[in-house]
Structure formats: structure tokens, C-alpha cells
């Protein structure tokens, strides 16, 4: 049976040498991990059977959600394990080479970029933050606490019955307007606050309710690259934001540390800012 090389990630040669990964199993739960030296770098790989990971088979396998779920999880699990002990450029699911020669060729093309990325990733962690909102709570909160709303309410109380009716309706749409603006700016403000702790940030796709399966609307989905020593103050800031936002219907989810999936893209390196 033909065997293919499944690439998990790229690290420094020394870090790969220092890590005993030979006991860890790969994405197929069978073959063990090992590394292939690529000059100063090293590729962390395992063999996989072509009968399961060959290109045509893989196309078929993507139809099997159970298979895909299991393997994608396993991929992530392996990467978490690796990421725990080394500076790692994580690869996406199913990055596969037919033979080592092809991997070496790929490495020659990306060597310079990979080195730059690994230097940037040195001593960092990736964390992800998602901000959700329950607009009904935010509306309630706005109605009860917004100074302009409160002032208008007081004014309305002094008016005649007919005027009160009209002005209350007007006030309602005013509140709705504030809520919309608030949703737009709140997530942005939080992002900027979180950003101050970070080496780099990346925005992720905001999912709709069909995807999240939540009642709350997702307003922001972002990835944050932090120096290790900044993680604690960053999470402290997130916690403060969670507490401050709760009454007004804000829900902030933080997950990590992730393998730096969102800060390892070779295509972005040449145009990187700062």
C-alpha cells in the first residue's frame, strides 16, 4: 500500500530535535509522528495510507461527516500537542505530499517566509475572541440608563396625554437607533482595547445564527497573537469586558491558546505591516 506524508507543521530544527514525538500518533491514530529536517527548519509529519488520504479518496471522504469530524479533530489535537512544546507554523487539515522530495521542494520555496513567521511567533500564543449580543437586553439597558433617553422620558412625563403618546413612539425608534449604533461600535471598541495587548490581530468570519446555533447575534470574531507575558493581562481585560457587558446583553467568548493558525499564512508575509 502506498504511503503519503501528512504535514502537521513546520518548526525550528533544534526544537524538533528536542521534542520526543515518536510516541505520538498522527491524524490516522495509527502512524507515529517524526520530523524531517529542512536546513535549519523541520517538518513534523506522519505517514498516512493512500487508501484513506489519497486525493480521490479524500474527495469521497469529505462527504462522510463523521470521518471528517473525527479527522479534523484529530488534526487539531495533534497540533495542540505540538504547539504546547514548540514554536510551530500549523498546517491546515489534509496538507499532504506524495513523497519527501516534494516536501523538500515546497520547503525550498517557502524557507525564507517560514523563518520570518517562526521568528514572529517566537514566545507568542494565539487566542480567539467572539463577541455576541442579545439585542433585547441591550434595548432594555439603553431604555433604562441612556442619559438622553432618561432626559426625554422626564420631558415626556410633563407633557399632555396626546403628546406623550406621540413622543413615546418617537422615543422608541430613538432607542432602536441607539441600539444599532451601539452594536456597531461596541465590538469595535472592545477589539481596539484587546488589540493593545497584541503583537498582531486578524478578523475572522462572523457567523450567522444558522452556523452558531445561538440566540445571540455574533458581532465580532477575531484572532489575537500575544506575547506569553501579555496573555494574563489580556484575559483580565476580556474578563472585565465580560462582566461590564453582561447586563446589556453582551456575551464574550474567549478560547485558546490555539496553534497560531491565523498568523502563519505565507501569503501575507511579504506584505506584512510594521
Amino acid at each position: 500500500m502506498e504511503e503519503l506524508l501528512y504535514l502537521y507543521g513546520v518548526t525550528w530544527k533544534e526544537e524538533a530535535q528536542e521534542t520526543d514525538m515518536t510516541q505520538w500518533r498522527g491524524v490516522d491514530d495509527s502512524h507515529h509522528l517524526f520530523h524531517i529536517e529542512l536546513g535549519n527548519l523541520a517538518a513534523v509529519v506522519s505517514f498516512v495510507d493512500e487508501s484513506e488520504f489519497g486525493e480521490e479518496v479524500l474527495e469521497e471522504k469529505t462527504n462522510e461527516m463523521e470521518w471528517l469530524r473525527k479527522k479534523a479533530f484529530r488534526h487539531h489535537e495533534v497540533l495542540l500537542q505540538l504547539n504546547d512544546g514548540m514554536t510551530l507554523i500549523p498546517m491546515k487539515f489534509a496538507t499532504i505530499f506524495k513523497k519527501e522530495e516534494n516536501l523538500q521542494h515546497k520547503a525550498a520555496v517557502y524557507e525564507t517566509e517560514w523563518k520570518i513567521i517562526l521568528q514572529q511567533l517566537q514566545g507568542t500564543e494565539e487566542w480567539n475572541v467572539k463577541i455576541y449580543n442579545r439585542s433585547d437586553l441591550l434595548k432594555e439597558h439603553t431604555a433604562a440608563r441612556h442619559p438622553e433617553v432618561m432626559k426625554r422620558k422626564e420631558d415626556i412625563a410633563q407633557m399632555s396625554k396626546g403628546m406623550q403618546y406621540l413622543q413615546t413612539k418617537k422615543l422608541d425608534s430613538f432607542i432602536q437607533e441607539i441600539v444599532s449604533q451601539e452594536q456597531e461600535t461596541y465590538a469595535g471598541n472592545l477589539h481596539h482595547r484587546f488589540k493593545e495587548f497584541c503583537v498582531d490581530t486578524n478578523s475572522k468570519k462572523v457567523w450567522n445564527k444558522n452556523v452558531t446555533g445561538k440566540d445571540e447575534e455574533m458581532c465580532w470574531n477575531g484572532a489575537y497573537l500575544l506575547k506569553k507575558e501579555q496573555v494574563e493581562p489580556f484575559l483580565e481585560q476580556v474578563t472585565t469586558a465580560q462582566e461590564n457587558g453582561r447586563d446589556a446583553g453582551w456575551m464574550i467568548e474567549v478560547t485558546g491558546p490555539w496553534p497560531p493558525y491565523h498568523f502563519s499564512d505565507t501569503k501575507t508575509v511579504s506584505g506584512v505591516e510594521g
Partner: protein
């Protein structure tokens, strides 16, 4: 308890992992498999995946405690699925 201990490796949704480890993310419409000639990089067909994920999210909501899910949960020490 540090904030790190409080948040580390908790509450990672299935969808989040799939969205991250699959090449183009769940919400983007991919075309066919991209195979770079001679390099053998294989990426998944996301068109197929999107519908699969949608089905999965629905079944997640409906059958949280199905046998499969329990089995998956045991297997995955890092990833915690959420309804």
C-alpha cells in the same frame, strides 16, 4: 486561579475547530479541490463541507446526547462541544 487556567482549552465548539483547521473556513464557498501540480498539496472541497456542517449543526442541536456524540466527547480531551 489565574485567568489562563480559567479559560484555557475550554468551550471550544466543534464548528470553531472545523472553521479553523479546514482551509477556507465554513462560511466561504469553495470551488473544487485545489491540487498544486507536482507539490501535492490537497485542500478540501468546501462546497461539500458547508452543507455537511449545516447538517451537523442541526443534528448537534437535536441530538446532543446521541451515542456518537458521547463517543466523540470521550475521544476528545481538548475539544468540548456545545449545543
Amino acid at each position: 486561579m489565574s485567568r489562563r487556567e480559567q479559560f484555557e482549552n475550554r468551550d471550544i465548539a466543534l464548528i470553531d475547530i472545523l472553521d479553523t483547521v479546514l482551509d477556507k473556513g465554513v462560511a466561504i464557498k469553495g470551488d473544487v479541490i485545489i491540487s498544486i501540480a507536482g507539490i501535492d498539496l490537497v485542500y478540501l472541497d468546501l462546497k461539500v463541507l458547508i452543507s455537511a456542517v449545516e447538517t451537523l449543526v442541526q443534528s448537534q442541536q437535536n441530538e446532543i446526547s446521541s451515542e456518537n456524540m458521547d463517543k466523540e466527547k470521550e475521544e476528545l480531551e481538548y475539544a468540548v462541544e456545545r449545543p
